[in-house]
Symmetry: D2
Subunit: 432 residues, 4 copies
């Protein structure tokens, strides 16, 4: 078998994965099957899709493994059911699209958001590094062709010249979003993330540069955009959800700062050292999954440092900070930080201001950096969707922002100095 | 507030948990809310409901935390919607029933089946120990009354004198089964575990000794029994599923035996020592969750011992043994074990015969030890269900058994001695 | 039993109806059970919920009977689960609310929209007439009290002084809409009409004048409003759907005009005469259901009049007119009408311009006539929803309008005069 | 285009029907599209799938139109997704299989069971007659080839030599059953009719004589058989459901007997005469749909004959007979008939004994007349399913029978002769 053949080689018998979102995920290609078996891909079983969100939605325990299979399955269906046989689609790009879909989240770390924030890592850079580095995934991809790993990485990084394949995986209506909205809705049990994916898939049409949607699918796309909006504000930005992340951030930050300050750990955090020092290799990165993080968090409960111990315990036993709505005022925040400090509560770890913002949809304009959704009309013309849909127009380019303050309520009530305590409570009451 | 009051004290505002199976789980009672917040209950988030089954059904990643809430919610609905106001129900037993429902799985260890098998622990004994020992859960329960923890433990152990409350949680149609069948079906994505729980709940009637079902619910019960049967053979006993367990069993067994043989671990397995030695305390038991087990499994990949390292790697990267159907013949098994040994493959770790069996339903007879399902007829008479339902009668008391052999296929093909290799292959071919 | 008792009398045993939307519909009250058994309520089984829409969505065959039960069930749950025990709710209003909910659609005629348009009837007036007239429904309601029928009619007509009860059944987030969106989505099989009704119900709070929604339900309400918007444009205004209605309108119009012109029917349309003449009694109205209309439509296929026969055949055999998008221009329309006439095609029956418009949400302002949706904030303040929700604000008060032209395509291609035919085709092509 | 081409001619653009069971029904073939447009197929919109069952399950209002499309869609998927490319499948049989699937229920009359019983018609004979007679359907089928209509009829009649195609549509696990179980469950709202059709379809394999199921699908088939069993006893044989049919039977029987006795109808039942006289043509048969039957039932309420008027009113207003369980004893029945007669209640119309029986599965044996379900083993051997499945074995060949007595309860309480009344009541009480 020549190298080129491997990319299109079929399995002797199709493999299927039972999946609640897609009923079955169908694997017919040898390269996909081999990628799934690599240790780097299997690792995604130990990275939760929604990080700390299971602390507010208790069934949100699903991993990035299932999501990655789901994105692959959607791209496979777009190709096999909607694109195949159409002029603008070159079936030689199938392996590239399928592999990029499957691997697009490969570099996510444990509790990704917290991890990136505290250790200054970038999951996109690590996705690229794993694909092009000395890994099992790279070994499989290289069987397709020596340049294939690099090509897959470029599609995921959106630097590949094939804009059509990129838009299947990364655009404002891509396979990634279509899978995660449905999957996250299913596993949290909410009714928001639903839209008519079957219809959208059926109406997708390839062009040289992007995926178009036939105009008869406009309402299905509206529904998709609104589902996404709902999922952001109801699930991903749910203030209790963010409370788990706030706690994890501060625990990791404390551990890192203690290490940098020369603190002597009871249980030396071997696996974290490269991250504390910023020297991690690909291998060390791939090794650090959520089992490791949870293992150390539990160990840290037993540490002498009262802040590290308390924060770790709070996270493990879900003793979250309380949150209050907030207008983002720096003055208020600074005043509260000072009062906390006076009361002997370290505001660096026990007082957090979080802001969330989301831009549900945007068209292409200076500074937007988004690939707009284009509709294909019956007469062959192409129209940007916000020019056709009142609902989408109404939210286009509008950034919604929200602020919350997080702190442990009971610590405040325990402040001994009456004046400080009352002052803090009075400020907080005004916020509420 | 007197002690007695605490058991019936209501929260200022009802709390709800979004849940895909029950839409919402409603918590109105202070004692339930306080139990959920204990560290022992929060630990159930780190114990998967279906252990290693996620290696065959990739979305079976849900924890015992959600299941425990679900069993609680079903019992709450039985009481609040079906029993309340009926003569045979004493509402003073409500806290007892709710707490026992919530805590019934508290003592499950990480990857429970493997763990119990290798370390000879018993999750039921640990459930009792946690409830009656020096724990946060015990502290909360004791607020109801000094004897309350013991009573809750007795309900879970089926030794309490209140047979009605026991039958709500442990019988052949109990809240436990009703939750897990639906939950496991939902999270694996299969269509088997469905039945009309609403109808069954609505038709439940309390008597002094047990929960009866009105006879108009007979078909719904049939459906429930068949759903259970299907879930056992399609999901819980799925041979690929069991393959993950086989591997984990052998990995833990190898580690334990190495320790007992004085092997020097690169990374000393501190957390496992009490289990290797059989001296674990409640605290050590509660500390050992799946994050810890996974952490060590990953560490063990780096161990010098080739068997431990290989087995751990296989489990983490899902490189499962192959399985073949098998008739249970000891002669065949012994012959294969000997051949493996001759070929230099240790059959203690690389050759496993597994048998599964299930008795879908049984009535009460010598040796059966099962509480039968009783129907309440319109004329007030009580009938055991297998005397009324052809379908249930047909499977009553019939134990179905199945055997599988597990071994690593590629090791066999790599045996250098042609005669041994061919002999093994020939025996295996006959099995197939 | 005194008159007053009948309104609150409970059935000996609760009755349930299996329902796909609400799982079960629970009837505990004698008056509701008796109303369901009346012939006027049973007649709703012979009136489709979505009229001619089954010609485009083939499974939209469900009747107003199920919808009426559904609205009743939602109101029952609002009362029994959310309102009961709250200060602003007077449980003496329960029978009024339940009966008004159950009967709110009682006066709908067969294929309601067409019927009202052609025969100038008004389903709201007939609902009132049936409730207050000499009917079985009136007989049952009168058992509650002599003035009770009138009160129920006033709630449905929105003239009753109890604004709270009115708002449960008729507002921008009422039980009527909550049932039909979900029901119509279920029976058409689309994914649009879904929203978290459980959450909305749980967060409803009564005041003297209206139902409020706690602010934590804002996103669920957004989702509800968007679901409604989607259902309007995807289902109710689906241009193929409206094609069936256009055809039925014209068939009924032709029959009426023929009668008025003294045409001698082969099969005298006895049941239609009071409607042709505008003299129908309540009894005649109640007698005219969709079985009667379909019976006559099939008879009319055999009539001598070619237009009546052709239109009736088209409707029965689903040979719909074609539609084209259209800008609403009167000039274009008049030109086309003239060309049709010249070609010998009667534009009164074979050329139809339809406009659809919908205002998804509006607040209370001069000319709006809508009861706004009010949110109840944690601090007790009440806020109109469009002031809080960006998404709702963006569509508030904006009327979306659409036009379509309907005509039989093949008639145009059969026009013998080349010039007329080409001129018509050229105008139509420009529209497309 | 030659005649042969028409059978395989594709539409310019695929048409889809939104369907709740199959998401979308896909029509690519010109012949299928043309068949759907015929008046005989459109007539199926006016024949309910479950006849009078909507009187007990109020949402069971779906028609045979959707079911027919569903059976077609399943057969299309079996061919296009499971069979195509396999040796035993000849793609030239595709049009035959698709057309037979679509048309298999074409000859069903209005309220089919009652109709056949009273007027001694046979829907299978009429299906054949419509397909081979002078109809629009025949005209379309003849375009494929002059013998094609006859071939389609033979497949539906199971006399065609192509046993494989017959088994796709008529066997113990055919497309017909797979659609109606799911569809009837969906529209009644029950949870019983569910099974993993996707898995069964995927594991279907063609042989010369039948469809096999790969043995790994055994549990899915068990689930299907049990779903069917549940649907029979929970839905189709639901005693309230059968009560509607009993009433309709007797109403039609009364009308027929009155006509035969020379009774003068107020409203002459023109459309029924050929059925009263047994002289109906295909055209008359096709014309008689449920709208016509309902129209006459409503007219008959106004007839002078008290029995016809009462029975028609009961059916239209759902004033059903009461039912009691019964052991089938002829002695009891005769005694009750005599007592009814003595009391002046005509037992021919007001006293009915109904028996229901179902054989859930049978293998091929003398007198069985059923095509068994065969499993295809990994080693290529074929096994009848009851030899492999304990659950199926347990119900194989076992006929379950049930009896019910139907009568109007209130008539009995109104019997003036105390002795007769008490005697009847006493016998009925014993039955209960």
């Amino acid at each position: 078998m020549s190298e080129t053949d491997y990319g299109t080689k079929k399995l002797f018998e199709e493999k299927v994965f039972k999946d609640p979102i897609h009923r079955y995920i169908h694997v017919k290609d040898q390269v996909i099957w081999d990628l799934i078996k690599t240790k780097e891909f299997q690792r995604l079983r130990r990275i939760k899709q929604l990080g700390t969100l299971y602390l507010s939605f208790h069934t949100a325990e699903h991993s990035r493994f299932g999501h990655s299979l789901g994105v692959y399955e959607i791209v496979r269906r777009i190709i096999d059911e909607s694109f195949r046989g159409r002029e603008a689609w070159n079936d030689a790009d199938r392996p590239l699209a399928l592999c990029a879909a499957l691997l697009h989240d490969l570099g996510h770390g444990p509790f990704s958001h917290s991890f990136e924030k505290i250790f200054d890592t970038d999951h996109e850079a690590f996705t690229q590094a794993i694909i092009t580095g000395d890994t099992e995934v790279n070994e499989v991809l290289s069987r397709v062709s020596p340049t294939f790993p690099q090509e897959v990485a470029e599609v995921i990084n959106k630097t590949h010249e094939n804009k059509l394949v990129i838009s299947m995986i990364s655009s404002q209506i891509d396979a990634d979003r279509m899978d995660y909205l449905q999957r996250d809705a299913y596993f949290t049990g909410v009714s928001y993330g639903k839209f008519d994916m079957e219809r959208i898939l059926r109406l997708m049409r390839p062009t040289k540069d992007e995926v178009l949607i036939k105009e008869s699918g406009m309402h299905a796309v509206e529904n998709f955009i609104m589902s996404r909006y709902q999922m952001y504000w109801q699930i991903y930005f749910h203030p209790v959800s963010r409370g788990g992340e706030v706690l994890l951030n501060n625990t990791l930050k404390r551990a890192k700062e203690l290490y940098q300050d020369g603190y002597e750990f009871e249980r030396f955090p071997t696996d974290f050292i490269p991250f504390f020092e910023g020297t991690m290799t690909i291998e060390q990165y791939v090794d650090l999954d959520e089992a490791v993080v949870l293992y150390y968090l539990k160990e840290w409960i037993k540490e002498r440092d009262p802040i590290l111990s308390d924060l770790a315990r709070r996270f493990i036993n879900r003793d979250l900070f309380k949150f209050l709505p907030f207008d983002g005022s720096i003055i208020t925040m600074n005043e509260l930080r000072e009062l906390f400090e006076e009361a002997g509560i370290n505001p660096n770890y026990y007082f957090v201001s979080e802001s969330f913002s989301d831009l549900p949809y945007d068209y292409d304009r200076p500074g937007s950096n988004r690939q707009p959704i284009h509709l294909l009309q019956r007469n062959g013309k192409i129209r940007e969707i916000s020019s056709q849909s009142m609902v989408i127009q109404s939210i286009t380019g509008i950034n919604r922002q929200d602020y919350k303050l997080y702190f442990p309520k009971e610590l405040i009530y325990n402040i001994e100095d009456d004046a400080i305590r009352e002052r803090i409570i009075s400020i907080l009451n005004e916020l509420n």
